[in-house]
Amino acid sequence: MKHRTFFWFILPTLSAMILFIALPIVSVFVQSLFVEHEQVLVVSESCGPFGCTETTSIDAEATAALRAESPLGRFNGLGTYFDRSHLAIAEVGEIWGESTGLASFLSGLMDLKFYKALFFTLTYTFVVTPLVLILGLAVAVGVNNLPKALRGIAIFISLLPFLVATIVGSMILSWMLDGEGIIGATLQILFNDPSLSIKASTPLMWIALMVYGVWHTLPFSFITFYAGLQTVPQDTLEAARVDGASKWQTMMNVVVPHLMPLVSFVTLMLLMDNFRVFEPIISFQAEAHAQSLSTFIVSDLREAGNPLYASAGATSILTIIGVAILLTPVLIRTWRDFNAKSH
């Protein structure tokens, strides 16, 4: 395709992406560099149904004047990125100085919420992603080998977890796992331990979240691989059979290499999605045991009442950087394959 034609083809998408993705990211970044004005406080008497007390409130006029002067707030540079809620440079340095070895350093690090969340998010990503890839391929091959009449219904059933909204699916599972729910209560009876609780144990909660993650995203990799299986060239398969290759050998040497571009694509999507894990944590009410960068953004914007925009902005940018780092190896690989083919 000529460069000119390509440019006109891509223009609508490109402008939409700049307008709705790139510019908002720039805006989030700019906002993350500023913090609120110094608050002007006044002390006065406040009365209500429970008597009078001395109370502090914000001087609205003085604050409005400050805002009119510089609407973005006070420039703070990368200060927010390095504070205790994010990269916590000073605290990490302190923990490093006080630690007696790697183990004590890591346990100190786990006291900082950013690193604790990062640890969970990375574990989740690196457990769920390969499992979804392997199991998705297995289900796709299984369905592909079914008699034609059964395939339709098998595909429908395999897609079900994906059709259920994340928040609904995880809430249903959460209720089942509850100490009063069918799975939780059954486990208590089986192990004869009334204080056994999935929701009270960090390792069990992590396992539950990851099992849910696999269950929910499996259909995505399944349907992609299933579509890919339809394009495996029949003559190559036949040639393999003629050469006496076993089913397993055919699978590993013909089918999987053929599907490799799809594997890269699915891996990219899964890494991105899993790194931003959010809904299961909320519906499982698992905040005591697992947090992710996304739950921090929401709590900065909502729980604080008066939102902490800089903090939420900094976490968003750090999430984007995290995703970019995770994707780099896959992208480099794809680029190499692309170059190899074009030469």
Binding site: V35, F50, R84
Partner: protein, 413 residues
């Protein structure tokens, strides 16, 4: 104490006969109300609609969950999305931090004949809200189970609760007799407040935004809480009001620290059995560590009027809402809340809040930076409850997390 005043005033007003018609202010104006979705607010908003919707140009009511997440955004544009938001102590602070509600002095003078002086929330002489109901946490007990376990009387302190819980467990009646709202986040923070205030603690150093929780009172508060958590359901870190109410109504708890506003729902004839409701007793929140102050915070819910709206809309909205706050409302809705309104007759569902307020519990503080502290408590104390950290370390983390947020919000340097 305040309930008695309300009840007497109500009786007098009842004798004199209350106003027969409602003054709805200027006609043809727009009234748009936002509030949380629970029975008392439904009653207040519904009454306002009944009285005044015929003369209004527009009358909408939007009651939903988590209004605090969006009320500031809704009131920021000019004209604002709503003319009134129904708030509580903490959400009034949140709106005032962004200067989104107007002083009501002139409107109270014009339309507030039925209001009691204690309903007016004044800050520096300006009436910023009109309260219509009170709320606080307090103790719910199952008298039949306590009796069965051989516990005499109703526990009045944490220590007595623990002793009673141990007896119930030892008698094999229940493994987890205590229920509390300990869901990570807001509830964990609030439970700390209760016990910290009961120990006489102050969240901030006097006259400043400097945190003040890492001290002996803070440690004592955490230890009181932990002694209770020995006897709660193992899933307690995921239990909020809906979960604890469900446990109670299912007969799976014998003592609970829950909101007074749940009292009506627990005692009504829905969702539970006769055995549970007939034996549920509401009493003052427990004291802790030998103190006299109950572990509770006092709350009110009330009306505010948005700042960024035309004055006439504000007047019509205030008139409509206030028209419902009188003895007439009590005829049908008396048991739906602990009303601060003229004509309220405190029933069994109000006994717990009345006793708690009467024995000197503190109101939830209306300080611009209290939300930041509440959040820090809600997220950083979890490690202590899970047993991963000492009380002192957890409280030090709370102060560090609060400082980070308060610096960003401009309250600390």
């Amino acid at each position: 104490m305040f309930l008695k005043k309300v009840a007497i005033a109500g009786a007098i007003a009842g004798l004199m006969g209350s106003a027969a018609y409602a003054d709805c202010g200027p006609s043809g104006k727009s009234v748009r109300i936002l509030g949380s979705d629970f029975p008392a607010i439904q009653a207040v908003a519904g009454q306002a609609e009944m009285n005044c919707s015929s003369g209004a140009g527009e009358f909408t009511i939007n009651l939903r969950d988590n209004t605090r997440d969006m009320m500031n955004q809704a009131l920021t544009p000019n004209p604002a999305e709503y003319t009134s938001v129904i708030v509580a102590n903490s959400t009034l602070t949140q709106l005032m931090n962004d200067d989104l509600v107007r002083p009501l002095n002139d409107l109270v003078e014009k339309y507030g004949q039925n209001l009691q002086p204690h309903q007016l929330i004044t800050i520096d002489g300006n009436v910023m809200a009109v309260a219509f109901m009170a709320n606080s946490q307090h103790l719910f007990t199952r008298t039949d189970i306590l009796e069965q376990a051989g516990v005499e009387g109703v526990p009045t302190s944490v220590e007595e609760m623990v002793a009673a819980a141990e007896k119930i467990r030892a008698a094999g009646i229940m493994e987890h007799p205590i229920a509390m709202n300990m869901k990570v986040g807001w509830n964990v923070g609030e439970m700390f407040n209760l016990f910290y205030f009961a120990q006489g603690g102050e969240l901030f150093k006097p006259g400043s935004a400097e945190p003040n929780v890492n001290n002996a009172q803070g440690v004592a508060a955490l230890n009181s809480l932990k002694s209770l958590l020995e006897y709660t359901h193992p899933d307690h870190l995921s239990h909020a009001s809906n979960e604890t109410q469900a446990l109670w109504e299912a007969g799976q708890a014998a003592m609970a620290i829950m909101w007074g506003s749940r009292g009506g729902a627990v005692l009504d004839d829905e969702g539970s059995t006769e055995q549970v409701t007939a034996n549920t007793l509401l009493s003052a929140a427990p004291t802790a560590g030998g103190g006299a102050v109950p572990a509770a915070t006092l709350w009110w819910d009330g009306i505010t009027i948005a700042k960024n709206i035309p004055d006439e809309d504000a007047e019509a909205t205030f008139a409509a809402l206030v028209s419902g706050l009188n003895a007439d409302l009590m005829v049908e809705h008396n048991d739906k809340a602990i009303w601060l309104i003229d004509g309220f007759q405190p029933g069994p569902a109000a006994a717990g809040v009345a006793a708690t307020a009467g024995s000197g519990a503190k109101p939830y503080p209306m300080i611009p930076f209290v939300n930041l502290m509440h959040n820090a408590l809600g997220s950083e104390l979890v490690d202590f409850y899970k047993g991963d950290e000492s009380a002192e370390d957890a409280l030090a983390d709370v102060e560090a997390a609060y400082r980070t947020a308060a610096k960003e919000a401009g309250f600390l340097q």
